[in-house]
């Protein structure tokens, strides 16, 4: 499976976090429970396209689209 950016996923899609492309953002995301290997579902996309919300590690997390762009994920079909 090839990796892609989290920002490209659609609502309801499920994926696994693989890696990060931005160090500052990654350190924030990791402490919020976005660990490599963690599975998540896209639960919401705000009406104007950003931010988005994912369900991960038992809770819902929101992040802006450009922040999501720094997360590389692998889609689970």
């Amino acid at each position: 499976m090839k990796t892609q950016s989290l920002a490209k996923l659609k609502k309801g899609q499920k994926a696994v976090i693989k890696s990060f492309t931005n160090k500052t953002l990654s350190s924030k995301l990791i402490e919020m429970g976005c660990l490599p290997g963690e599975t998540f579902v896209i639960t919401k996309i705000a009406p104007l396209g950003s931010p988005i919300a994912i369900f991960i590690a038992g809770y819902e997390l929101s992040l802006r689209k450009d922040e999501a762009d720094s997360v590389l994920v692998e889609l689970i079909l």
């Binding site: 990654s26 579902v41 104007l48 931010p51 919300a53 038992g58 819902e60 922040e67």
Partner: protein, 675 residues
């Protein structure tokens, strides 16, 4: 008789945002809390106290409620304060109570293991244990306790369950001997984890690689702990209720409709519903003033008490209904979890202007009054976005501008006229409101470009599940906001209003003294209509001869290019207390029959002639004044609140300067073009 020994301890509450930490703090301390300052930052410092006795020994526990933090590597100014305070030797913190959300232990244990590694006496409080139980999450407390090496207690802080265990655990708190960091990760650079964290926080030179590997190492251990001690049913999606409500609150149509409805409600309460209690407060203080001025010996002291102090305090207490209502709403919206959704759907709209999704509520309530709105910016956690919101808020057309606008528009268009289908007066008013709003957004946009920040702007935040609001939390919020306002902003407002009172009722020259004597002799007689009229005239002359009268003349050369004379100058100075004072002062200057009714003043202004016998209040002068009041600060209460919220005068003066220049330039432009 038993001799009670009183033991004192100081504890710090620390936990992730949304761990129910504040709710625990409120439950423990009730109203026994006070708000203070941390040196040099805008974050409030919350401290409280509670006492209890066990085995004939009484204990008093001082509690400091640290701002929410996700880890000891600060990412926001709130987190930085939490970490620095925790590590400050001078704070003399005996025990740290880490508050965790029992329903998402995994994420919350990151901070817990870091604190344990600091080798401070620690207690772990698993909050919201009732919710965990209802979600069939089973936690092996004993196992967790043994592995972590500290006491673990279960709490339901909303129902005050488990508090006895917590108190015992605090008294028996110990330093864990377990270690959760990878010693080889730090080579020989640091003696302890504490030293590593201190150097990270103060020098900020640690690479994010070391930071991340520390966190990943911890999460490895945490994953193992959670797998061993916590049984969680597989949960792949949100709680049904939350997800059902969110289907509406984040919907592309309903979401905004709901938000508009909520904003409309907030506006109604602050604009209209607050009016009645504000009138009660006003008449109560007027009654008190009347009582004192008639029942006590007349003189300078009586005058100071009635017109200086009581009027000043009345001006402070007047804001209480608006502040209380606004924070009632904010408390409800925060406590239920809705605020995060409002932020979620508004982020993209507000972000280009350097504002936060959470700026929406202060901006809308700003159309009623900037004072409670500036207090309400507290919920914006990003410092830059918060400061921008505070800075631009006074530009939003508030209700105090309305009497000024109404009077001047009436002078501008004395007869009801129509522009097409529209009432002209209404259109001008609408234009002024829009102008305020546009100026607000443009200023925000400009500020966003020029303000520097070291704090990154994240929107990485939790969308908490919906919960029932807690009346105790909201009650304490409303109460503490009102108290803070009265205590801290109140003293500045009181001081300025006493100064303004003094300047407008005192003068040094002989004329003033003579007028004073004349007025006193007239007032002691039976007052016929003629005498009443004479007293009114004397009042006008007194104002002209007072210090403020002098100041009005003094600033005349400066405001002449705007089309203003010294009479307007006097009104500009007195209405620095609050914009609506302009109408009252104009009424005094022009000896209007009724200072409450703008109809009388309107006629006086229309009849006013300049030195060449032409009409004084031309459209050019009216527009110049309208624009001046649209943009000028002219509100000491706003300045007092900005000082209180930003903890410095710097922003206050920057704001005053910016708004004065904007007001002057636009009034100048309007007058020069139109005349």
């Amino acid at each position: 008789m038993t001799n009670l020994k009183n033991n004192q301890l100081k504890i710090a509450l620390l936990g992730n945002p949304n761990s129910g930490k504040s709710s625990l703090f409120n439950s423990l301390t009730g109203l026994k809390q006070k708000t203070g300052n941390y040196a040099g930052v805008t974050v409030d410092r919350l401290e409280g106290e509670f006492s209890f006795s066990i085995n004939n020994e009484s204990h008093t526990i001082k509690v400091i409620d640290l701002p929410g933090a996700y880890s000891l590597f600060p990412k926001s100014s709130d987190e930085e304060i939490a970490c620095k305070t925790l590590l400050d030797q001078k704070e003399k913190i005996d025990v740290v109570v880490i508050v965790l959300d029992a329903t998402s232990l995994k994420r919350h244990l990151l901070l817990a293991t870091q604190i344990i590694d600091l080798k401070i006496k620690t207690v772990l409080a698993l909050n919201m244990i009732d919710e965990a139980n209802s979600q069939d999450i089973i936690i092996d407390i004993q196992g967790l306790q043994n592995t972590l090496g500290i006491d673990v207690v279960c709490l339901n802080s909303r129902k005050q369950e488990g508090f006895d265990n917590l108190k015992k655990a605090i008294l028996n708190a110990r330093i864990s001997s377990s270690i959760f960091y990878n010693i080889s990760n730090f080579n020989n650079n640091f003696i302890s984890y504490k030293e590593f964290i201190i150097s990270h926080i103060y020098s900020k030179k640690t690479e994010s690689d070391i930071e991340n590997s520390d966190k990943l190492y911890r999460f490895n251990i945490i994953n193992y702990l959670v797998a061993k001690f916590v049984k969680t049913p597989i949960q792949l999606s949100l709680k049904a209720i939350t997800s059902k409500i969110d289907a509406f609150t984040t919907h592309r149509v309903y979401g905004y409709l709901i938000l508009i409805f909520i904003l409309f409600l907030v506006f109604q309460f602050i604009f209209f519903i607050s009016e009645a209690p504000m009138n009660w407060i006003e008449s109560a203080f007027l009654g008190l003033g009347d009582f004192i001025s008639t029942q006590f010996p007349k003189g300078a002291l009586n005058d100071l008490v009635v017109h200086g102090i009581i009027a000043g305090i009345s001006g402070v207490v007047m804001f209480v209904p608006q502040i209380a209502f606004l924070f009632l709403f904010i408390g409800l919206l925060e406590d239920t979890g809705y605020m995060a959704r409002a932020s979620f759907i508004m982020d993209k709209v507000m972000r280009p202007f350097g504002l936060n999704g959470k700026s929406v509520i202060p901006l809308i309530s700003g159309t009623a009054c900037a004072v409670p709105s500036i207090l309400a910016t507290r919920s914006i956690s990003n410092v830059k976005e918060r400061l921008i919101t505070i800075f631009i808020l006074p530009l939003v057309s508030c209700s105090a501008r309305l009497p000024v606008y109404t009077l001047l528009i009436a002078v501008l268009y004395p007869k009801t006229s129509f522009l097409g289908f529209f009432n002209t007066q209404g259109l001008v008013l609408l234009f002024l409101y829009l102008l305020g709003f546009i100026a607000t957004l443009i200023s925000a946009f400009v500020l966003k470009q020029i303000m520097k920040t070291t704090e990154p702007s994240f929107f990485i935040m939790e969308l908490p599940v919906y919960r029932w609001p807690q009346s105790k939390n909201i009650g304490i919020l409303v109460y503490s906001k009102v108290i803070i306002f009265i205590k801290e902003a109140g003293k500045i407002i009181l001081a300025i209003s006493i100064i303004l009172w003094f300047l407008s009722t005192h003068g040094i020259n002989k004329e003033y003294q003579e007028l004073e004597i004349k007025e006193q002799s007239l007032s002691s007689n039976y007052q016929t209509e003629a005498i009443k009229k004479e007293i009114k005239q004397i009042k006008t002359q007194k104002l002209e001869q007072s210090f403020i009268g002098y100041l009005g003349h003094f600033i005349e050369p400066i405001i002449k290019p705007l089309g203003f004379d010294w009479k307007i100058g006097i009104s500009l100075i007195t209405s620095f207390a609050a914009r609506e004072v302009f109408v009252g002062t104009m009424a005094t200057i022009y000896q209007s029959e009724d200072s409450q009714n703008s109809e009388g003043i309107k006629q006086k202004l229309l009849n006013e002639k300049d030195e060449f016998g032409n009409q004084k209040y031309t459209p050019a002068v009216c527009w110049s004044l309208l624009l001046f009041y649209a943009f000028a600060m002219q509100c000491m209460s706003t300045m007092a609140v900005v000082k209180r919220e930003t903890k410095s005068w710097k922003l206050v003066f920057a704001q005053l300067l910016f708004m004065s220049v904007l007001a002057y330039v636009s009034a100048f432009g309007a007058y020069q073009i139109l005349s």
